[in-house]
């Protein structure tokens, strides 16, 4: 009791006497940015995970890439590579590296040298070579590079000198540079890796990260927060905030509430219903851009009866996409006909679409031997994504549509980590999920979502494998001629419309909501959020 009394007396004196000036208070509160993110990252290395959560927390905060996308034009611009050259046969890429790029100095590691060619070799070989000492660390799966087949296509990565690197491909790949600029192609520190290996604790590389990015890692409490500090020796002269904190807040309504009270300075994925509120508040800012994404309904094609294209077609005809767009996206999305959004250069305007036709759906179902009363599961992902802001609500709507054609639906959901684990194991009948592209290249949609190689890497939610489809995709990559590539993707769309392993539903706009005090915020249509160069002024 006496201790409590002491504390109370202390409190009283502090509150009455220690009233500090507003200036002090402001200086403190504007020293750091609070970002309310939607979920916890799997680890701190985006090479190992394709989820937007992981790359938001890492890619542009902790790391740099050889190349970057210009946020305005989408063109590839220099980053850690100050210049590059492509040979005439399109198989050899040479990169000139920037000098004097410092790695983070943290409590757990002090670097002795700056960034050089060894780090590039280490970073690429880690996902490329199964024999690399770090390949199997943290699971040994590199979903982005596996699903796109990049790992197999790189023949060699050579160190020309300390600041020049040469990459050789086996086959031409017109999307290779774009892939090196995505969130996942980050540059790690070889010196740190060697240090950890010597200590016998290599897994730490993905949990206590060292990079060259504008912020360095300070601490992480799972499912609560991530703390970063400014990287004072950052090579770009952008003034960033002293501190950056990711406050992990899974509920979207809570994130908005915290944005309004100023407990967050920026939030991830504002819900579509909330956009008008944000627009109407003078203290909040809402940036929007058409997104490179697609939300879809995927059938597990390895489970009967969903291995039958007619059943899938019937289900596709049983739902009214326009209603889903209105109710779930509140018209902040465009109707998806194929996998590609309008923003992509390969978008096919006259692609075939499945119309709402319950009569046809019912007939197809009966022909396929599905009697009324058949029960299936729809998995609704537990978190909001721009491509599907409310999967549970969408599932309830679809439940009703399928009820009309005599199918009972059980809606299944788990927390995000468990959800994805079970999806990878193929326990679902169908799932409402989607895909945000990492760059504007169409291959970035078609290959990870439906190619055979994407089944083990866990991005092919339909578990669908079709040789003709894979052949077409490979053929498209062999030419630099956009018109020819586009013609091939038209064939791909026709094939998908016959087979319907997934029903594309919507391409959502991308939104970024933040408080007016944040200066320098920019929406990045190609990948994850960037806080480098962002400051707060109260």
């Amino acid at each position: 009791m006496t201790r409590i009394a002491t504390v109370l007396i202390c409190l009283a004196s502090i509150i009455t006497l220690g009233a500090c000036s507003k200036k002090n208070t402001d200086t403190f509160y504007q020293s750091g940015i609070l970002y309310c993110s939607e979920s916890a990252p799997v680890n701190f290395n985006p090479q190992l995970d394709t989820s937007a959560t992981t790359s938001d927390a890492t890619a542009h905060q902790l790391y740099d890439r050889l190349l970057d996308f210009d946020a305005e034009t989408g063109r590839i611009v220099p980053s850690l590579a100050s210049s590059w050259r492509v040979s005439d046969d399109g198989l050899t890429y040479t990169f000139q590296l920037r000098k004097d790029v410092a790695f983070h100095t943290t409590e757990y590691f002090t670097p002795n040298r700056t960034f050089n060619a060894d780090d590039v070799l280490f970073s690429i070989n880690r996902w490329r070579q199964p024999s690399h000492p770090f390949h199997d660390v943290s699971g040994g799966r590199y979903p982005y590079f596996e699903s796109l087949g990049i790992a197999d296509n790189v023949a060699a990565v050579n160190r020309v000198n300390g600041y020049r690197v040469e990459i050789q491909l086996k086959e031409r790949d017109s999307s290779f540079l774009a892939n090196l600029a995505t969130d996942f192609s980050v540059m790690l520190s070889k010196e740190y890796a060697d240090h950890l290996m010597a200590q016998g604790d290599p897994e730490r590389i993905d949990h206590y990260p060292i990079g060259t990015g504008p912020y360095k890692f300070e601490s992480y409490r799972k499912d609560h927060y991530i703390r970063y500090r400014a990287h004072d020796a950052y090579w770009q002269n952008a003034t960033s905030s002293q501190r950056l904190i990711f406050d992990i807040t899974p509920k979207s309504s809570l994130r908005l509430a915290k944005l309004m009270t100023g407990e967050c300075d920026a939030i991830a994925f504002p819900a579509q219903t909330e956009l008008d509120i944000i627009r109407n508040r003078p203290d909040l800012e809402l940036a929007e851009k058409p997104g490179l994404n697609v939300g879809f309904w995927a059938f597990n094609t390895q489970r009967p009866p969903f291995d039958n294209p007619d059943v899938r077609k019937a289900l596709a005809h049983a739902i009214d996409k326009n209603t889903l767009l209105e109710a779930v996206y509140f018209d902040s999305a465009s109707r998806a006909k194929s996998l590609l959004p309008v923003a992509s250069w390969a978008y096919q305007n006259d692609a075939e679409d499945t119309a709402y036709n319950p009569v046809l759906a019912e007939r197809l179902l009966r022909d396929a031997g599905i009697e009324p009363g058949f029960t299936m599961t729809i998995w609704a992902m537990p978190i909001e994504r721009s491509y599907n802001p409310n999967a549970a609500k969408m599932a309830e709507l679809i439940q009703r549509y399928l009820g009309d054609v005599g199918i009972n639906v059980n809606i299944v959901t788990y927390d995000w980590t468990t959800f994805r684990r079970h999806l990878r194991e193929g326990l679902h009948d169908s799932v409402l999920i989607g895909w945000s592209a990492d760059n504007g290249d169409p291959d970035n949609f078609y290959r990870p979502l439906l190619s055979c190689g994407a089944i083990p890497s866990g991005t092919n939610r339909a578990m669908w494998c079709n040789d003709r489809y894979d052949a077409l995709l490979n053929q498209a990559l062999e030419t630099e001629d956009l018109a020819k590539r586009k013609a091939i993707y038209v064939q791909v769309n026709a094939l998908l419309n016959r087979e319907l392993p997934i029903v594309p539903i919507a391409h959502a706009y991308r939104y970024q909501a933040y408080r007016k005090e944040l200066k320098g915020m920019q929406i990045n249509p190609y990948g994850s959020i960037r806080f480098g160069g962002v400051t707060k002024q109260l």
Binding site: K251, S252, S253, L256, A257, M260, A271, T273, E274, D276, I277, T323, E326, A327, K393, E396, L397, R400
Partner: protein
């Protein structure tokens, strides 16, 4: 002019009539009873009262404001929710689910509790002492905790959450029944019956139970208000009733996502729970003070 009674017979109201008279002298308790009656009518005749199917979604009328707001319409008295369902109908059905299940589980808990409590009260010695201590200790475990454990074992659902709340309510009934029976067993009229050769069952049926009913009504009203709060709290935490089942707590949780945009989706279901609990408490309180006054007069 004073009227003389021809016979020397006085009018003796029965104890229940006297309680009722005391009860009705408190206006606020009568008001509570009236509100409670409305909720009971809602629960019994939900399908007749509700203007819409509570699950009927309507895409054309999402988040309509309630009728008293400027752009509300009379066709949806309490407005609609994020899926276009009529909030008024959902609340009516919600009252049915929440109130109905609460009454049901209080009756079960009462049945079980009274049985065990009576047995414990009529027995004496070591067995009853151990049971008393343990029960007292277990009474302290929060319902929420029991519910979490049951949900972990059996999965979510209204019925499972009802089991949890029933389990949590039983010890109270045991406790009060046991104390009551023990004090009653010491009284002389019980001794008289015993000497008359009444069996334990007869003792209970004819001597103890009739005296216990008042205590049970009071405890039941207390338990009912706890049950309503617990059922809705578990529904709210998504551990009890699962959507789309309209249960007031679950409706409230549904409205949470649009709380700022459409506050009536949070305000009205919450208000219904609050009024329901308040009415139960008012009636319970009125009953208790009526009984108290009757005894003291």
């Amino acid at each position: 002019m004073a009227q003389f009674s021809l016979y020397e017979e006085e009018y003796h109201p029965s104890p229940w009539q006297r309680t009722w008279r005391e009860f009705t002298s408190s206006h606020i308790a009568v008001l509570g009873l009236f509100v409670l009656a409305i909720f009971l009518v809602f629960a019994l005749f939900a399908p007749l009262i509700a203007p819409y199917d509570p699950l009927q979604q309507n895409i054309d009328s999402l988040l309509l404001p309630p009728s008293w707001e400027t752009n509300g319409s009379i066709s949806h008295l309490f407005g609609t929710d994020a899926l276009g369902r009529d909030v008024f109908s959902r609340i009516i059905y919600g009252c049915r689910v929440t109130f109905g299940s609460s009454i049901l589980l209080v009756m079960i808990a009462m049945g079980v509790g009274v049985t065990i409590g009576t047995v414990a009260g009529m027995m004496s010695g070591v067995r009853s002492s151990i049971m008393n201590h343990l029960l007292d200790a277990l009474m302290a475990i929060p319902t929420l905790l029991i519910a979490i454990i049951i949900v972990a074992i059996l999965g979510t659902g209204l019925v499972n959450s009802m089991w949890a709340i029933t389990l949590a309510l039983i010890p109270q009934f045991i406790h009060y029944t046991r104390s009551f029976v023990r004090s009653e067993m010491k009284k002389e009229y019980i001794l008289a019956s015993k000497l008359d050769g009444a069996s334990a069952w007869q003792l209970f049926r004819h001597s103890i139970l009739p005296n216990m009913i008042e205590m049970l009504v009071v405890q039941g009203s207390l338990a009912l208000s706890i049950a309503v709060i617990d059922v809705s709290a578990l529904g709210f935490l998504n551990l009890g009733a699962q959507p789309p089942l309209p249960e007031l707590g679950a409706i409230l949780a549904d409205g949470l996502d649009v709380a700022y945009l459409a506050p009536w989706n949070v305000g009205l279901p919450g208000l219904s729970i609050f009024l329901m609990v308040l009415a139960i408490n008012l009636v319970g309180d009125g009953l208790r003070s009526a009984l108290r006054k009757r005894v003291s007069h």
